[in-house]
Symmetry: C2
Subunit: 768 residues, 2 copies
Amino acid sequence: MTENRAGRLTLPIETGIDEEVRALVERLGADAVRNSDGTSLPDWVDRGFAKVYSTYFPARGDEEWADMSAGERIHQYLLSERRTAPPSGPLVIDVMEGWFQAQFRPDTDCEVKRWWQVIDRTAGRVLDPEEWEVETAGPRPLVDPVPLVGPLPADAGSALVTIAHPEALHVYTVSFLAVQIWDSTQMYNYLTNDWALDPSRVKERPYDVEYPRTWAHVKDALAIWLKRNPHVDVVRFTTFFYHFTLAFDSRGRERYVDWFGYSASVSVPAMEAFEKEYGYALTAEDFVDAGWYNSPFRPLSPRFRDWIDFTSRRVADKAKTLVDMTHEAGREAMMFLGDNWIGMEPYGKHFPGIGMDAVVGSVGSAATCRMIADIPGVRYTEGRFLPYFFPDVFREGGNPVAEAEESWRTARRAIVRKPLDRIGYGGYLSLALKFPDFIDRVEAIVAEFRSLHSASGGQLPANTRVRVGVLNAWGSLRTWQTHMVAHALWYKQIHTYLGVIESLAGLPFSVEFISFEDLESDASALDRIDVLINAGAANTSFSGGPAWASEKLQHTIREFVWNGGGFIGIGEPTAWIGEAADRGSTTPASGTVFTLSDVLGVDREISWSLSTDRYPEVSPEHFITEDLGEEFASGEDPGDVVALGARIHRLEKGSVRLATHEYGAGRAVYMAGLTWSAVNSRLLHRALMWAGGAEDEWESVLITTNPQVEVAWYPQVRRAFVYNDSDEPQEARILGSGLVGGAEGAQDEARIDIAVSLGAGESSWLDL
Amino acid sequence: MTENRAGRLTLPIETGIDEEVRALVERLGADAVRNSDGTSLPDWVDRGFAKVYSTYFPARGDEEWADMSAGERIHQYLLSERRTAPPSGPLVIDVMEGWFQAQFRPDTDCEVKRWWQVIDRTAGRVLDPEEWEVETAGPRPLVDPVPLVGPLPADAGSALVTIAHPEALHVYTVSFLAVQIWDSTQMYNYLTNDWALDPSRVKERPYDVEYPRTWAHVKDALAIWLKRNPHVDVVRFTTFFYHFTLAFDSRGRERYVDWFGYSASVSVPAMEAFEKEYGYALTAEDFVDAGWYNSPFRPLSPRFRDWIDFTSRRVADKAKTLVDMTHEAGREAMMFLGDNWIGMEPYGKHFPGIGMDAVVGSVGSAATCRMIADIPGVRYTEGRFLPYFFPDVFREGGNPVAEAEESWRTARRAIVRKPLDRIGYGGYLSLALKFPDFIDRVEAIVAEFRSLHSASGGQLPANTRVRVGVLNAWGSLRTWQTHMVAHALWYKQIHTYLGVIESLAGLPFSVEFISFEDLESDASALDRIDVLINAGAANTSFSGGPAWASEKLQHTIREFVWNGGGFIGIGEPTAWIGEAADRGSTTPASGTVFTLSDVLGVDREISWSLSTDRYPEVSPEHFITEDLGEEFASGEDPGDVVALGARIHRLEKGSVRLATHEYGAGRAVYMAGLTWSAVNSRLLHRALMWAGGAEDEWESVLITTNPQVEVAWYPQVRRAFVYNDSDEPQEARILGSGLVGGAEGAQDEARIDIAVSLGAGESSWLDL
């Protein structure tokens, strides 16, 4: 198909290999080129050659301005180490202990008694400002080995907080406002790539657009840059104003990372403006959150929710100004999804109004692919694929072809369901050129990608009629972003739940993310949903924790299921023991740990019901287990779960791993966890169909007999795209009956049953 | 040693094999004989032959009285099934659904509106009595297979509770007072032994001494019995008035069992007396506890604590009356520790005043052995050993010798530290006589048992100077009884913690059980303690749950450790998240899940600190790990634990399994769990010595180089008892230096180093 030979591809280019670059751009049909971090575009590249992207950093990189705006740095709230007061005498806490002195210094120029807090963590008491004193101190001696970063900045230093009369043996902390004296991403690159060895490098100090002088400068700087860079078509903002929370320790190692963290978007003027608008003042504790820093796993506090909204609104306002300037200069504005993206959450309500043309982000999984592809309010999206053209992979003995294939297979599941508009690569093209096999493979991948736009007739494949809602504290704001700590990295505590999102990203369901708050305020959101999923560990924002204390929320969901809806609980869904542990209360307890144990038919055993005898009987066979082996790889043990009326389908060491339950006219499924695998994805697929009462429509959008092979049905063009998700050859049969949305929208009567045989990772288009 | 040939042994005897019985009693040197359940003593047995025990049941077995006291049965609070109200219309709950109709019937004769409760579990609301009605109903049809129990009692039946206008889709329960129409233990024996096939058997209905007529009858009956049974020396009360909680389901299977349960000691007159005395009324909810029935794992409620004390005091009063009568008749009073023992907890404060002569109990482990041997306020204790002389073991192919050996090896660890005064066997002697090997083995065991009394000079072996306190909600009341559900049975959720108690029961430490309440009211209890242990799962009475909200408790322990004390936390010690999950609070959170994370140097990760990077470094070598292999069998995973300053000695899947920490002048040890094994016991031994600052005194009461071999040091006679705990031959060296309590109380200077070689389970006395 010739239409698959050009477009939709961005390549990194560099100076010095002009001929090869031109040839490759032509061969691969790239229609856009970009520079990378540390490379620049060749002089000959102009808008006639291809669309030109250029990175742009609004709030860092201008060290001249940084020198002129010493009081307008980015701030971040940090918590000191926890220190125990001696049996008698004062307690002195050096606030910078444990933090990286090249990254932060305490802000002792602000009104310390107002913006810092000293807290007795044992008593849960904020000390009166008269109870402690601060004195500034020089940098702490470097005792531990730290990586090469060059000399500490001149303004590095610490501060000592003295509590003259602490309570004996109470634990104290100091929450202090710190100045970021080094941009987090640049610092990361610096440390990772030994840039300290390069004398031309300068540590970049970010500045805060909250300060009017800096904001005026940032606007002026963009205006000048746009004029000076007429060859640039697309301003790739990398990103805007505030970095996600990333703090290093005294040895120069990452100490805290939260891809969603709003800890570094804080400043005194912002907090003052917040108080004026919301009628209450934020405190240091609202940011440091006793050391948990409002991790996305924490149940959401109303104050932190306000802060997110406040920050997002103000960031959006300013971003819109820059985007408008970009448009006025006849260019496109593209946002990189990461780094300084705080306040720019693309599913937030303020985002569409910014008028961003495009979002580009790194694709590490099907879920991150959907996270980019589904963003509303932009004209197009682009996914940056792996491998990055860096020497770690593009070296002798490296296997960039295998990495490219795996990356493509992983992302393809999502791209089929909701195609990205473009794909791209990053790094040094000169490295990739040394691997002709790799170039061949990229050519094939790009052609396959284009076919998903062209052979499909530009249509999305058909979904089953079962509409899925993922229920947690974050709802649509964090669409496709549940259970992430540091972007797409693996953590022991999350892989049990990430499989849910990863599976959904490639399954034929419309998926919506709904918050507890949404349902509290308006249950009609459930009119758009057939099956709700609640997945997560107890007391997290994802499972819900205290959100389940709400009778209204409980009622909304019970009514939904009772009337025929589906509910899938994974891990410790709806878990909340509330006051049941503290037996001073006279309010009768619910009697179960899972608030909706009546809906799920299972409950969590936390040693309180050991005296109750259990006689679990297992029925391995069920519609939902038809493609599951004997073992169910449910991931980390969420703790013991017992059946209260559910039918058990998998049991391990006496604990329920998989069960189904009927409730009124509705259905519920419990899973102990759902790590990512093709077989588990199929289990979720079946569970959604069953819970949605649609098991008779199993073949309605085509289905395969082999979970490793997936199929997408494009009714408008009567074509099917069938693809092998595995790195082994696979055989499968494609089944279809009662196909939805046939050529005339009517259901077909003939049954489809086609055998296919696909090589590792291979795909194929079938005309039906 | 001839003194080991007679005494301290009780044998069961029976009619019909007089000669063999006489010969065996003489050969084994038994000085007491007893009947068993279902056997009677031969006529020729009198007090001249041996001491004669006879079982006695004060509150059941007199069916004539049961007929005459229909209104004075034992009662028990039960909770109906949880039922969801339909979207509209009334909800009817059949209260007996799921309960065994041969065991219970609802008490609809009491003032139902006062003593029953209907609770909306969704809203946490007790319904007004006007909101529901009760009507009695006949027995439910038996739909499920039930074991043979004969016809249902004439008074069996159920009751229907109708809630006319329930809240739609709320979950409701009925807490109802039920009448026990069949004694729990007799029912158990009936079902287990198919006694329904024996037409002479009658189902026994227990009666409640709370009713004055019944109480008068019980006293009279004992007086008559004592007169009629002049040959009986020892009245073996089996037991007193109230059975532990044991309820069966509609299919005649055990449904709820709590060896400590006070649910069946309730009656209307008792509750009325309670209200008069305590100034508040108990409700059904105080007993059913939302379905958890005050399991010993539940954090303790003040009201339930009051009920235990109230019941114990009243039971003790009445038991004392019967014991006094027994004494006046010139007999001894012995209590069987089990069955109807509620209110007779032998470590309770009312127990010693009863004047019981002896307690006999079943020995299933070292801990249960110590539970009996350490009972204060009695003249002697007796342990009933396994195997029971029953056909399940004493059959062709059975191996009673192996069972006897294992039972002895297990109990011996405890008996060495605190000898029982007597041991005994139960069952049918005629069966045992068919196994001459078994009789030989029993002869040897009994001789070894006697040697622990004689060769030791009647002294206890020396303990190290480290005194241990086990800290939980129950304290001394449940000495040696932590983490038990149904006596000595294995449960997945407890074996991780039972190893602590099982190890301690045989280690050379003085051990005391202390409650949180003890420390709240008077910290001086810690003057008697060198190392505190807190072991258990989060939110249980054993770990503490809400008890840790007390600053005073925290301070007491911090001060204790800071000043040089030791603290060993196992599982989820001191865990309490309190309000930290519910973020509406403005009280700053502690910031850790383990309240004493500063003491322990570790904390529990519940997904709230995933954003914090961890760099665990493992130091496998430490004084406490010297006898531990590479793997540490810590049992079930208590959840992820991270280091906050502790030295990690064992790490598994990124989670701390074993760690040590210094705090002020004191020391702390964290263990993920401690299942029972010789190696784990040795780990605890070392951990206690280290935490107690006594690692230099490791050899002070003798120690072996092989954890499978233990040694006890008797300074007064300068003898050592060395014993192989395993069923394999073992080699070991016995080491001693700085021995405590030598002949003149002075420490020896010479180092002891003796090689020993012991056959499977073998022991030996050494003169030093």
